[in-house]
């Protein structure tokens, strides 16, 4: 009797398109995926445990290392949580600077998404283009905080330093060039027939399922669920800006891709608005030297490029957090991988992984 058998293929932890050290155990029937079980933990550093033995301020650099392509957002989320516990009022100028930096970081992060999606689908030129434009943003960050990836720029009560004089002209140059760049990507990737057919109707997640499985961020909005924390629970000063939240219809890879492309445009718009409204003034509130939030607990979340980044901090009134938990969007979004991949081909797993845009630094915490 002839019969066929499924076989197991370990995709990762060393694999070019798992974006870090993710292992996906694929059960394959020929090329068709029967099951795709993500296996993580290869980058687990115990950041939540480390937080318990660090002071509040000492933990800020650790947040940089969670989602390391959008560190500004991580800084912001953590600092706002602690500020919420201690009732610290942040100066206006610092609020605007925070918005500018996190939105720029969102663009940078989505550019990496675009680049890595392109190279995962075999178009390496897209990656080069994405990284080239991201370089401009990193140069801007380099100006304000001297770091290109791990910024620790946003601190309790404000930001670490005011922007240097050359920053605003450079940012304005970037904002003028950016639409042309975006247009170029659209011509290279969005208009490409092969890319469209690779992504369209691949890995469809219905709106109801997306909510149930806990997707957040662009992955959720691609399914048509309007949930952007910047809009529904505006943190900082997001209520002052005029921007729209792009929504998808089908919840396939194509929607996840186009939404992120559109979000970049919106983010650039927010940066431009913030730049024009930004007042003069100090960038740092007076914060006690030793940060000791009163006993209690706070859950605060922000919209990071990958979804809802939440910090849950329990304080016992001491100098260290009693318990600090990070709700990592990449980690929770990864749950959908198995059901999204079932019945598709190996090439689709790569596309789904890329459009979920999970980042292992954040998944493994």
């Amino acid at each position: 009797m002839l019969k066929t058998e499924t076989f197991t293929l370990n995709m990762g932890p060393q694999h070019p398109s798992t974006h870090g050290v993710l292992q996906v155990v694929l059960e394959l029937d020929g090329e068709t995926v029967v099951q795709a079980i993500p296996n993580m933990g290869y980058l687990h550093r115990g950041i939540e445990k480390l937080a318990e033995s660090r002071t509040y301020a000492q933990f800020i650099p650790y947040t940089d290392r969670l989602d390391y392509v959008s560190s500004m957002g991580n800084n912001l989320g953590y600092c706002q949580t602690v500020e919420k516990m201690m009732d610290i009022k942040v100066p206006e100028r610092a609020e605007y600077l925070r918005i500018i930096m996190t939105e720029l970081n969102r663009i940078a992060s989505h550019l990496i998404f675009m680049g890595s999606l392109a190279i995962d689908l075999g178009a390496s030129t897209g990656m080069m283009f994405g990284f080239r434009s991201r370089e401009r943003i990193l140069d801007l960050f380099d100006m304000v905080c001297g770091a290109r990836q791990t910024y620790t720029y946003i601190r309790f009560g404000g930001v670490s330093a005011d922007i240097p004089s050359e920053f605003i002209p450079a940012l304005e140059r970037f904002l003028t060039d950016f639409p042309a760049m975006l247009d170029e990507y659209h011509r290279l990737l969005t208009g490409n027939e092969i890319l469209y057919h690779r992504l369209k109707n691949t890995g469809v997640i219905s709106a109801q399922r997306a909510v149930e499985i806990g997707l957040t961020g662009p992955a959720l909005r691609a399914s048509g669920v309007d949930y952007d924390i910047r809009k529904v629970e505006p943190y900082g000063i997001y209520d002052r800006f005029d921007f729209s939240v792009p929504l998808g219809q089908v919840g396939d890879c194509w929607d996840r891709y186009t939404i992120r492309m559109e979000e970049m445009k919106q983010s650039a718009g927010i940066v431009a608005q913030a730049l024009s409204q930004m007042p003069e003034g100090t960038v740092m509130a007076s914060v006690p030297k030793v940060v000791k939030p009163p006993a209690g607990e706070v859950y605060h979340s922000i919209e990071n490029p990958r979804g809802e980044l939440g910090y849950y901090i329990v304080s016992n009134g001491g100098t260290n957090p009693y318990r600090l938990h990070v709700r990592r969007p990449s980690f929770i979004n990864l749950q959908v991988l198995n059901e999204a991949c079932q019945g598709l081909l190996i090439g689709d797993v790569v596309a789904i992984l890329a459009t979920l845009d999970s980042l292992m630094g954040e998944v493994d915490c």
């Binding site: 070019p16 398109s17 190279i119 689908l121 075999g122 178009a123 897209g126 283009f129 290279l188 090439g347």
Partner: protein
Amino acid sequence: MQEITGLFKIAEILRAILGRFLSDPQLVDICMSLINIGSIFTIISLTAVVLVYAERKVSAFMQRRSGPNRVGPGGTLQTVADMVKLMAKEDIMPAGADKWMWMLAPILLFIPAAAVFVVFPFDNKAIFADLNIGVFYFIAMSSQSVLPFLMAGWASNNKYSLVGGMRTVAQMLSYEVPMVLSILGIVMLAGSMRMSTIVAAQQHTWFILLQPIAFVVYVITATAEINRAPFDLVEGESEIVAGPFTEYTGMRWALFFLAEYANLLAVSVIATTLFLGGWNGPWLPGWVWFFLKVGGMVFLFMWFRWTFPRLRIDQLMSFGWKVLLPLALLNIIVTGIGMYIYEFFS
């Protein structure tokens, strides 16, 4: 001067010189054959060096980088440095590999890649063996490269390699059909499978003008045949790491690489010969025209590679069978009718 620049003339001069030293004309023939073989292998290995450099520079140009620029003037010696590195690398054989199959695969892949060069008309009369079934020989030889890929994939004892090997078979077999059919139109027009006759038939009109559909089908299928993007599923590095080559290191891997570029050159040569008029062209010597056209084709293939994403396996198969094959068949029918009408009126 025009006379001496032709490759055939150079061969004649060489033959005359050899004839002075060697009494037996048979010995002269043997020597000439050896020289021809030597020059073909020189062309293959040199083009690999040149093409790798060219590919890196072309990709750099498309991605707005500078590309290799450290080794030698303008980075020209980069490939040489790479080859030295590859030769110095440790030769690792995976545990559990099927030893003989595994070792033979890269060699067997290289043989057909090199053997097709026999029938390429580099210039007027400059063709190693002007077979009367030249086109058929090319098709037959190039289809031999399916097996080594499968051998490498199977023998490596690696699942990525196996998946890659399976993909090769599916892809190359299904794209062979439309490719052959697209070439058939040319054979009908020229009335011969002899390469030199086909080129001679294009003295006034290149076949690309008479057979535009066949050219398009040929270019697409040729890209698939040599496993280059957007049809590089066999080694699609973001999916199956490197397909059949995953477990190969050092020189063995370099042989795969060499064969890949030899194949790239081969399909460009065939495109030039069948569609672009071969060595025909005004003012310049024939072989210069030939290599200019080949260079243009190579650039076209590189252009594809650096702009397109990769297809998915099911899309690849359906495109081959549902689009290219009917198109190629249609082309044959139209060509036949056209020829009949042409003969009827003239």
